[in-house]
């Protein structure tokens, strides 16, 4: 019976990493789309998003099965409950990537390729998602703290990008595309938040402490 339990736990671990890898992939593609505006990439992103949704259901049912059949305790229980929370954030990352793709696809505006700050934002959020998944894979608390610290970086970048867009709006007088750009920046900022959430749940699964509060 325990053997079966261990097997199920490992399966959960693997599927969760897989889902994380899908998220990394999808936002990497989003950043590529931002530069190229290629409609094919946009379609790929939307397909990947639905794959992520499917993966979420799979991991969810694995978690529930584990809770129901094995009644895990202590660290194992933390693992399973953290997984349940993490997949919600991962799924949201997929949604947000898909939203960005939709904006780029439906409105025919081109993101100014020389927008260094937005590109930097995309790059930072990709790194955050990658690191949060890495932290989970390696069960590394140090990485967790790095990710959480990086969220401020993204927030600052968002404020800068917003300022730039506001200036552009006044100068160029093309409010629609400026607004779209703002939305994209906001989505990236949200992805950064979700990566932070994932990192926090990784911390919980290791230490039992979530945002400096013992909840289990």
């Amino acid at each position: 019976m325990r053997n079966r339990f261990d097997r199920q736990l490992e399966e959960l671990h693997v599927e969760l990493i897989e889902m994380g890898s899908m998220c990394e992939d999808v936002i990497r593609k989003t950043s590529k789309l931002l530069q190229s505006g290629d409609a094919k990439v946009a379609r790929e992103i939307r397909k990947e998003d639905s794959n992520i949704d499917e993966q979420e259901r799979l991991v969810e049912s694995l978690c529930l099965k584990l809770l129901l059949q094995q009644q895990p305790v202590a660290k194992d229980l933390r693992k399973v409950s953290a997984a349940l929370k993490m997949i919600t954030d991962m799924e949201r990352i997929g949604d947000q990537a898909s939203d960005i793709a939709e904006i780029i696809e439906t409105t025919d505006f081109s993101v100014p390729t020389n927008d260094v700050k937005l590109a930097k934002m995309a790059e930072t959020t990709i790194a955050m998602v990658t690191e949060s998944i890495d932290a989970y894979v390696k069960q590394d608390l140090e990485l967790v703290h790095e990710v959480i610290a990086r969220d401020d970086e993204v927030d600052d970048l968002f404020l800068e990008v917003r300022q730039e867009i506001a200036d552009d709006m006044v100068e160029a007088g093309d409010p629609m595309s400026s607004l779209d750009l703002l939305m994209i920046a906001k989505y990236f900022e949200r992805i950064g938040d979700h990566a932070t959430n994932i990192a926090e749940w990784v911390e919980f699964s290791i230490t039992g402490t979530h945002k400096d509060a013992d909840i289990l």
């Binding site: 671990h13 990493i17 890898s21 990394e24 894979v137 390696k138």
Partner: protein, 553 residues
Amino acid sequence: MRKRIFRSTAILVTLAILVTFVTAFFFMYNKLEENMTERVDNEVDYLAKAVDELGGTSLETGLADGVTGRITLVDAVGNVLYDSYEDAAEMENHASRPEIAQAMKEGRGSASRYSTTYAKRSYYAAVRLDNGQILRVGDTIDSVYGTLFPGVFMLLLPLVLLLILSFYLIDRTTKRMMEPLEAIDLDHPLENVAYDELVPFLRRIADQNEALKEQVQERNKQQQEYVAITENMKDGLIVTNRHHVLSINRAAQRIFEIKPEECMGQNIIVVNRNQKLKEVVDGALAGKDMVKHMTIDDVTYELHGNPVIQDGTNTGVVIFIMDVTQKKQLENMRQEFSANVSHELKTPLMSISGYAELLKDGIVRPEDQKKFAGRIYQEAARLTTLVQDIIRLSKLDDENLELEKETIDLFEMSKEIIETLQPAAKKRHISISYQGKRLSISGMPQIIYEMLYNVCDNAIHYNKDEGTVVITTEKTEEGICWSVADTGIGIPLAEQERIFERFYRVDKSHSRATGGTGLGLSIVKHGAELHGARVRVDSAPDQGTTITIVFPA
């Protein structure tokens, strides 16, 4: 083993004591009973004689004092006249007692009775006196069991003592027996034989020890060889058991930035969650030989996954990871080269054949014929230059190229080049100047000239109108530097590495507005290599470019 010895000894000791006791007891008890009956018989005979002589009343006056048993006197019909234990008047008629009845009839009787309530055994003997009265003497002893049970309890103490003693003795003996056995050094079993009976056994152990040592040595050697090979190879190697990592060599650890303790025995997805790696493992587990490319941080790796087949079943995967970035780049370069060379050769040819066709068909007006022929001549000249450049390059490629080295004055050569290029520069109002000392190097004049000419030519070609070109020579720690600085369009940083590739042009349109074959800097690079010199580019878009050739001093 010791426990078993203890147990059987305990049983043996207890049984021995019990059997001895019981046998002895019954023997003793029989003797006791015999003694009692004999005594009672004697007493009754003796008393009967005394009562016959002295009369019945003598019993009450002290005759019975010396007798231990119970004395009863009954008359001829059984009424009790005297009893030494109880009041005779209250006693019932004794005629029915078997010993008295027998004595009345035969003159003498005896009986033995057993009382279960008191666990006592009584013996009575009766004799008929001369006057017809009956005299009876009785005595009582404890019955067999009544005697036995208190005895058994008395037995417990010696039993326990004996058991303790025997355990102690056994303990000592077995210890003494085991000591030499335990002291046997199993690594050298034949050197200290405790009991001769053990020799065959020990010999066998010695043989096995020997065989084992050889096997371990063999295995260690193999292991060391394996580790030496896998740890020192440049390519990554991962061995898995189904999906779990069994071993990961140093190169693979470096590639995937993972420590062995983080992934040993874990699922392969922990090593890297790239989809390609998963596909390779899954494919190999399905029995296929897999090859995939995967990119991590701009480095391209080729993954080879092969199934490990043991006894017909697929038990794992061997994954081989090779860095193929350079190979990939070279491949791209080759592809680009062939695309470029065909493009460069084709364009002038198309012009030539186009103009020639017009001339052949006689469509061209006579006054234009000269212009057309001029175009054909120009394009042919272009082709010639191109082919010459290619030939030069392939000559430079030839490693065996050995031209005679001479001392070259860089100042003289630069001046010569400036004079040659002056007309072209004047057309665009570009000024060329020279600064620095007269410095000489040793080299092959034709090739050096070609190199310097190409660099200067580029400085004019890619300059802006009314720009400047400055040629400088100086001696530094690195060696003798010859550099050309222009004020032209510059080269973006990302392109700077590629400009030395054959036919590579920053301006992808292959526009011939500036002319050139796209081979100039290739020639510079190869020429520099031949002379052991280095070429440095320092440029920023719209700021101008400085190209420096550093000759070894």
